[in-house]
């Protein structure tokens, strides 16, 4: 027998069943009708399952794709920053080198 501890590992289905229950909020001033608790639960479960599955098989590339994820944009910014710094160092080195060349040319 499996005893589940909802505090640690509530499944989506259980939680949605508990908090949405009959589908209409009757307490409070606003009356929210929920079209179809079952259908919503199915859809949410499928979304979660497909994300988990994708992670499992390493198909979470969209998390690093700047067009799809803000996290990736953050990474990109860091990369751009690093790129800029490297370019500056390269420029500095190159101009130093060409100075050195002039110097050696003078000596000849």
């Amino acid at each position: 027998m499996a005893v589940e501890q909802p505090m640690q590992s509530s499944t989506i289905v259980d939680v949605l069943e508990k908090v949405l229950d009959k589908g209409v909020v009757i307490a409070g001033d606003i009356r929210v009708g929920i079209a179809d608790v079952e259908l919503l639960t199915i859809k949410i479960r499928l979304i979660v399952a497909s994300v988990d599955k994708a992670k499992e098989i390493g198909m979470d590339w969209w998390e690093t794709d700047p067009y799809l994820s803000s996290k990736a944009t953050e990474n990109n910014q860091a990369l751009e920053e690093e790129n800029k710094k490297l370019k500056e160092r390269l420029d500095a080195l190159e101009s130093q080198m060409s100075n050195n060349r002039w110097n050696t040319a003078d000596q000849e």
Binding site: M1, M7, V13, D14, K18, L20, I30, L40, T41
Partner: protein, 268 residues
């Protein structure tokens, strides 16, 4: 327009006074949960922007923005779990929202007796769920071998000419299906009757389809129990022993809890 108030749950003021509210982020991800005393009852609430959380826009979001619904439903449940761990709490349904402080106050005051009764009912009791899943192929095998109605029918058929035997066998398959459902109900019902004796209150709920649960087995039973804390252990032991007794039948019992008492604390 006034700010709106999202109501998570109600706790007895005496308990709220003894222990400060843990810090929890509000429904909109900006504000925080805070307590709002109304006589002997303390409401745990957060503020909402009235324009952003109009009735139509919430309904629209719940039914169409699944990511939002998933995130917010979990937020609601997590906040209530935290309250449940610290106080006796009446959990409210997802998206219970009032248009003003006055309206909330009025609503709680006019339901004061009900709330008080609910507190009394919940104190010292826990809400537990039981779901029974059935591997139908396995149970079918058992039914097909051990059912006297089916056994008799089989004997009858043996006496028939071969041509008729074919059609009569089809009928037996149909009979097995029917007996399977009967047997499933009988077993689940029996388990429920046993478990009910531990509970202050018990209810049978709707079974969910396979596409909802995402499981291979069918859900055959879904019930909820309000158990005195002292009886929880015995209840779980009973669940375990019932399951052992059903070995080979294809039935699997799954108890979950304790839950904030979403089921046993109706407030309005």
């Amino acid at each position: 327009m006034d700010k709106k108030i999202y109501l998570y749950g109600l706790i007895p003021a005496a308990e709220a006074d003894q222990q400060p509210l843990p810090s929890v982020e509000g429904f909109d991800g900006e504000g925080k949960l805070y307590t709002f005393p109304i006589d002997d009852i303390t409401a745990v609430v957060c503020d909402l922007d009235p324009n952003e959380y109009a009735e139509e826009s919430i309904e629209q979001k719940i039914n169409n923005d699944l990511e939002w619904l998933q995130k917010k439903a979990f937020h609601h449940h997590e906040a209530l779990t935290l309250l449940y761990n610290n106080y006796t709490v009446i959990p409210l349904k997802f998206c219970t929202i009032y248009n003003s402080e006055e309206s909330l106050q009025q609503s709680i005051k006019s339901n004061g007796d009900k709330v008080e009764n609910s507190f009394q009912l919940l104190k010292g009791n826990e809400e537990w769920n039981l779901k029974i899943y059935c591997d139908e192929d396995q149970l079918k095998q058992q039914v097909s071998q051990n059912n006297t109605t089916i056994e008799e029918k089989r004997k009858e058929i043996k006496e028939l000419p071969p041509g008729r035997q074919f059609f009569e066998r089809k009928k037996i398959d149909h009979l097995i299906e029917k007996e399977l459902d009967k047997e499933k109900d009988r077993l689940c019902d029996h388990i429920h009757e046993q478990l009910k004796t531990y509970a202050v209150q018990a209810d049978v709920k709707k079974n969910w389809g396979k596409d909802v649960t995402g499981l291979k087995e069918n859900m055959s039973w879904n019930s909820v129990y309000l158990l005195p804390v002292a009886k929880v252990e015995a209840f779980l032991a009973k669940v375990e022993s019932e399951e052992k007794g059903l070995d080979g039948s294809g039935l699997r019992l799954e108890a979950s809890g304790p839950w904030p008492a979403y089921h046993f604390s109706s407030f309005s």
